[in-house]
Amino acid sequence: MERLKNKITQAVLLSVGLTLASTSFSAFAADVPAGTQLAKVQELVRGNGTEVASLDPHKTEGVPESHVIRDLLEGLVNQDSQGNTIPGVALSWETTDNKLFTFHLRKDAKWSNGDPVTAEDFVYSFKRVVDPVTASPYAWYLEMTNMVNAKEIIEGTADKETLGVKAIDPYTLQVTLTTAVPYFVKMMGHTTVKPVHKASIEKFGDKWTKPENFVGNGAFTIANWVVNERIELVPNNNYWDNAHTVLTKVTFLPIENQVSEMNRFLSGEIDITNELPNEHYKRLAKDHAESVSIPGNLCSYYYGFNNAKAPFNDVRVRKALSYAIDRNVITKFLLGQGQKPAYFLTPEIVAGFHPQMPAYGKLTQKQRVQEAKDLLSEAGFNKQNPLKFTLLYNTSENHKKIAAAIQSMWKKSLGVDVQLENQEWKTYLDTRRQGDFDVTRAGWCGDYNEASSFLSLMQSNNSSNDPKYKSAEYDQIMNKALLSTDDQERNALYAEAEVLLAKDMPIAPIYQYVKARLVNPHVGGFPTNNAEDKIFSKDLYIKQ
């Protein structure tokens, strides 16, 4: 379905200022309400989309990998079922200037072989991420945290020993950033910054993730791994909170075909699916209402205009096309799972994000179409000289349906002739990157729960800015926001950036995603309010 899998949607949120002197929370684990009858067999089976590319957190970049690694390795912080940042290996942390962070690690954290988890493990791991020898595809994530020398080390101009991280003592970790990053602690929930066991890596090299070699510090450890078939995890007896783990086995199945996955759910072989097939949604919602789970998701669906190319370098053309899309038809009739119409690049579910509805968002569709017609004829397009272009999307039934609907909306309301062109994923990425398109489908999921994870896409120097939007004013707002240490001020600037996007319309936002899946009602502890879809198996249990 949506090809958004190759990004880790991650890293957490501290909703309020981190300038707080110090923070401390109680631990979170399988929280079984009193009176719940637990099933005799506590084994859980989860659909996990595609086969994991690796179980080494420093070599992965996808969502399926993160789902498994979240159970195998524990970073400085975790998330609770609401998506709040809670302590992981770090019991508490403090900062005074959002540049120097001190983490106090719990003393009872252990690796699965019994070794203690220390600050040195994090120092080793962070250095390993930026080390060019590791060739981590997410090395840039540490660059994004602004950790001292991360960029230089990746580029090969500085030694990895100069990274801004050090162990003050075995249980105190200190991280130094080049500029203030108020959401730094949330970023520490990401897969890329999970610790790895140095001795195992030195002994086994690339083979350290094999079940027979694996040493982790998460609630579970690997028992069995058959590529393209299953990964089985069992509790890690040395995990500091193992007493609260209820499940005795967790199996991840890599099933790409949504219908196959649904069938296996319906025949009782899977407890939690990864997705659900859109075309079966209505039937499932009717016949299996108790199993359908649809929390909001930190992702946006939009069409990007090629702003560098005529006629899309004309804001009137871009606006006309955006206005003429009837978003309600798409969310209600084509998708119908609770997706919301989008008028912003940033999904409204993002923490602290309160945008103002742009003028066109308040009009009826009829009024929008009228404005669109006027704009298009002003731009010089009419019956004698109709606008013609190609709409690019990556091959998928869902994208095709939406593209066909929008094609007909544009044709009917504006007389625009649109040709649809679908390309297989990697070919499509290539075409988009080379700017060889008129209008292209795009989607984005946040790497962390903060508007900048979306809005930075439209900065003129951003490598993902395929629509080639270039606005000095926008860049200025974003730079100011990224330097601001005040949450309120920062979010106000993000709202301002969205106002500018509605005015320049470099992209046409279409809808805000939901994460629809099937969850067997006997699964307890499932996080239905975690926008980043971070499911920790240690928090789950099976009811009778």
Binding site: R3, L4, N6, K7, T50, E51, A53, S54, L55, D56, K59, E61, P132, V133, T134, A135, S136, P137, A139, W140, E143, I154, E155, G156, D206, K207, T209, K210, V226, V227, N228, E229, R230, L253, P254, I255, E256, N257, V259, S260, N263, R264, L266, S267, E269, E424, W425, K426, T427, L429, D430, T431, R433, W444, S463, S464
Partner: protein, 306 residues
């Protein structure tokens, strides 16, 4: 015969070499690369990755290095599945495909030849019509329609078999995939066998045998079956190819960890080394199997001599 086999093996070497060369360059010239993602990697990270996988060298240099390694039996690390080498991945996937494929192939032959023969012997009776019309449905029903239908009936509705997975590859996990993979070929083999059998039964030497007063069963088994098998054996080659390539669909639908699924994912991921490894493996298997079919043909047809 020995000379024939030796000749076929020698011929296989240039064939494989051409196969390797063409696939190698086609793969490199396909748009996209193993490491292209929605968020483009910073150039410095990309450089580190390219250096690690030898992609920073010229394509020709990569080609010669690859050939040298392959000759030593080393198919390199997978570009996508970073914790495994191509050799490890193939070693874990091949037994699964081989087991399902072999079971499907044997089932196909026994069923196809069996019902085809029965239909021929009961020519133009209701038995013949029932078998042949069922076979017709089998021929026109693609596996991507048949397999979900089987799952719906046998897994969801009746609950007799699991809807997918492999586990240890026991009978219950193999049953539906094998049926899904074979039905098309059972139907085709039945049709071929029936036609060929009827033709053989009407030929002169059978009439002679009957004139000599031999029993009908004896004539069918001893005299008719062997010549009637010629077109069947000839079709075994293409059927084998079909089962291997068709395994892509079946393995995806049933979630089997076999070669077909590995191959498709490798192509989508632009996993250069894995695509190459599986291509070479399948090419090699085809050559072997075609040789086997040729030997079988020579054994049953006195007109063929090598």
């Amino acid at each position: 015969m020995f000379k024939f086999i030796a000749k076929r093996i020698l011929e296989a070497i240039p064939t494989l070499l051409v196969l390797i060369t063409i696939s190698f360059f086609l793969m490199r010239f396909a748009p996209g690369n193993p490491f292209s993602t929605e968020r483009p990697l910073p150039p410095e990270v990309m450089e580190n990755i390219n250096a690690k996988y030898g992609l920073d060298k010229s394509v020709f240099e990569q080609y010669t290095t690859y050939l040298t390694n392959v000759l030593q039996g080393d198919f390199g690390p997978s570009f996508k599945y970073k914790d495994f080498t191509v050799n490890e991945l193939v070693a874990s996937a091949l037994p699964v495909s081989a087991k399902v494929g072999a079971a499907a192939f044997v089932f196909t032959l026994i069923m196809g030849v069996g019902v085809g023969t029965i239909a021929a012997l009961k020519q133009n009776t209701w038995i013949d019509y029932t078998i042949m019309s069922t076979a017709m449905i089998g021929v026109v029903m693609p596996s991507f329609v048949l397999a979900p239908a089987l799952i719906y009936v046998f897994s969801i509705y009746l609950g007799w078999f699991p809807a997918g997975g492999w586990l240890d590859g026991s009978f219950q996990y193999m049953f539906l995939p094998v049926i899904g993979m074979s039905l098309l070929y059972v139907a085709t083999f039945a049709r071929i066998t029936r036609g060929s059998m009827i033709e053989t039964l009407n030929s002169n030497f059978i009439r002679t045998a009957r004139a000599k007063g031999l029993s009908y069963t004896y004539i069918v088994l001893k005299h008719a079956l062997k010549p009637a098998m010629l077109p069947v054996v000839s079709y075994m080659g293409p059927a084998f190819v079909g089962i291997i390539t068709g395994s892509v669909v079946i393995e995806t639908i049933f979630g089997l960890p076999g070669i077909g699924k590995l191959f498709v994912n490798a192509a989508f991921n632009r996993d250069y080394s894995l695509v190459m490894g599986v291509t070479i493996l399948i090419g090699f298997l085809f050559i072997i199997f075609n040789t086997v079919v040729d030997i079988l043909l020579a054994a049953i047809d006195p007109k063929i001599r090598y």
